[in-house]
Amino acid sequence: MTAAEHAIAAPVSRAVVAHAIAPRSSGRPWTFYALCTVFVFYVLALYGPMICIYILSFQDVRGGLVFPMKGLSLHWFVDLFTQVRTGDVKGAFERSVKLAAIVTVATVIFSFLAGLAFRRSFPGDGIVFYLMIGSLVAPGLVLSIGVGLLLHFIGIEGSWYTSAVGAQLSWTLPFGVLVMFAVMSRFDRAWEEAAYDLGASRWQAMRLIVIPILAPGLVAVALFGFTLSYDEFARTLQTAGSLNTLPLEIWTMTLNVTSPSLYALGTVTTIISFAIIAICLGTIATIQKRRASRAPTG
């Protein structure tokens, strides 16, 4: 194109572009506002009840269990960790975290292995899949009673680190497997084959290719495992044995504690849950960032 032709062509194309991206003269349709209202109510319904608890936990010594809010202090948080009458919160918390850690590790390992197994179809894979997912449908409380009954029948004493682990896995594993399947669906088997083609052993392909590529997904599975276990109530109720996990402890407290320290506990556990989610998401983000930023440093 010569300079003269450019001069002619340029204004024309600019005019065309300007026309194409000109905003529509009418504003948003009424449906936008209707749907916005629905969404606001949805969010309120989701978080409103929890937010009530958090707000009421910051009352001062005069505080009660219902609105209106009386004063503003950290009194009930102090109370939570100093008063014995509220129960064994510290012990329950430690047990819950340990239990969640055990369950998380088991969930990650078994979900990962299940994900690997389902990379290709095998005879009966459908049945195996539904067997794994089926326990999601079983009512937790009934399952818990069943586990308790069975243990009693066999003559084994249930405890939070044995029977409760098993009962919780019946809940976290199906979720872990489902998340893993979603992760695996984006895993290209050709990556693995390429690794073998280039001379990698099975173990090298696993260590250098499969696990690094799936790492963010594995963190997500861990997150699911931890939060599901940490909050689990129904399946733990009849299987935890003589010592309570945190959700069981909170439930007990609702029966005999009539102070906002109950709410303070709710706030603290929520903060811990969110902290764990933040750590996991942070880990995923770091993995991805490190990959992207390896570029300039080389």
Binding site: D188, W191, A194, Y196, D197, L208, I213
Partner: protein
């Protein structure tokens, strides 16, 4: 006898995935060392399965695969000294270009310095030095292909296997990368086996074109043989460029068979050695589209030509030639490629009657 390291022989290779259907059904093939071979066929014809069996990602159900004269069935890819370039390239998404290319050296246990030295030299060769620290997702399709090529070539294979290497690229880039592949093959001097379903790609690149259908080889030979002298109807139709007419043999004399086409007068066809025909046999013949000449009715066709009455059903301008679609010789999709200048010196329009002619000697009997 020394066959050369990259000589490949398939002997009676059969592959069945389910025990009922043979994806590869008794393939015998010899590929000379240092050849550029294209396996050509529609999807599901078994060409990729053959490639994967040579690579060692599948094992044949029966049969032998020899590379450089030794049977490699059961050996892992590295031991075969083959390298594969996967269809979507299968670049490791979490590794930089340099680490992707150096991967084969890494798993061999080379130190970081040593493997980066070799990888950097390889990147220089394929003009990727500027992209060494990028991730695959940050590269264009053509660059990704070069990374895949470099990653495979760094293992110093004696055979490079390419699974539809150009299918992920757009038309323009495809032609360009085709050249690069061929240049790379000349540079490396190793056997390339390239799987494709695109006829033009195969005949443009290959020393040896292998046309496949339903797990069997229909014809294998130099590109020009395949295009110009197809053995059978399938090859003629798959390669395109040929008109295939069906009919019945009317008479056979010493040199020519006369075929009674479905419409019009008989067509004389030279006999092909090795194809035995008798009067009354059903037969198919092939005539290259660019051998066909269109003559106005009333004008006398040249001597020793076949002339059929036909009707123009479509005209497509293709640039340096014009594609004229015709209803002639009992075929509703008869095509003539007329050079542009010739066509426009006396253009025919849709619906016009023409004589479709070709010299007797250019037509071929098909099996």
């Amino acid at each position: 006898m020394d066959l050369g390291p990259g000589h490949i022989e398939l002997a009676g290779v059969v592959k069945s995935f389910d025990g009922f259907i043979n994806a590869v059904d008794g393939v015998n093939l010899k590929i000379p060392d240092g050849a550029y071979c294209c396996l050509l066929g529609p999807s599901g014809c078994g060409k990729t399965t053959i490639l994967r069996m040579i690579a060692g990602h599948e094992d044949p159900t029966t049969g032998e695969i020899l590379i450089g004269g030794e049977n490699v069935v059961g050996l892992p890819p590295v031991a075969r000294r083959t390298a594969m370039m996967f269809q979507s390239y299968a670049l490791f998404p979490h590794l930089t270009v340099r680490d992707n290319i150096a991967f084969a050296l890494r798993v061999r246990g080379l130190s970081k310095a040593a493997r980066y030295r070799t990888a950097d030299a390889m990147m220089e060769k394929v003009r990727l030095t500027d992209f060494a620290d990028r991730l695959p997702a940050q590269l264009s399709g053509g660059q990704q292909q070069r990374v895949a090529l470099a990653r495979a070539a760094i293992t110093e294979p004696r055979v490079l296997l390419l699974d539809e290497p150009l299918s992920a690229l757009d038309e323009h880039l495809r032609v360009q990368m085709r050249q690069e592949l061929r240049a790379m093959q000349r540079d490396l001097g190793i056997t390339f086996i390239h799987v494709t379903h695109t006829q033009l790609e195969a005949i443009a690149l290959a020393d040896l074109v292998v046309v496949m259908d339903k797990g069997k080889i229909r014809q294998a030979g130099p590109a020009r043989d395949i295009y110009d002298s197809p053995n059978d109807r399938y090859v003629a139709e798959f390669l395109g460029g040929q008109n295939v007419l069906s009919g019945q043999v009317r008479t056979v004399n010493g040199h020519h068979a006369e075929v009674a086409a479905l419409a019009g007068s008989g067509i004389r066809v030279p006999l092909t050695p090795g194809i035995h025909v008798d009067a009354g046999d059903p037969i198919a013949i092939a005539v290259r589209r660019d051998d066909v000449e269109l003559v106005r009715p009333g004008k006398a066709p040249a001597a020793d030509t076949v002339a059929l009455a036909g009707k123009v059903t479509g005209v497509e301008y293709q640039g340096y030639f014009v594609k004229v679609l015709l209803d002639a010789g009992g075929s509703a999709d008869f095509v003539a490629y007329v050079s542009e200048r010739k066509f426009f010196s006396d253009p025919v329009g849709i619906g016009e009657a023409v004589l479709v002619t070709w010299p007797i000697e250019v037509a071929r009997l098909l099996r």
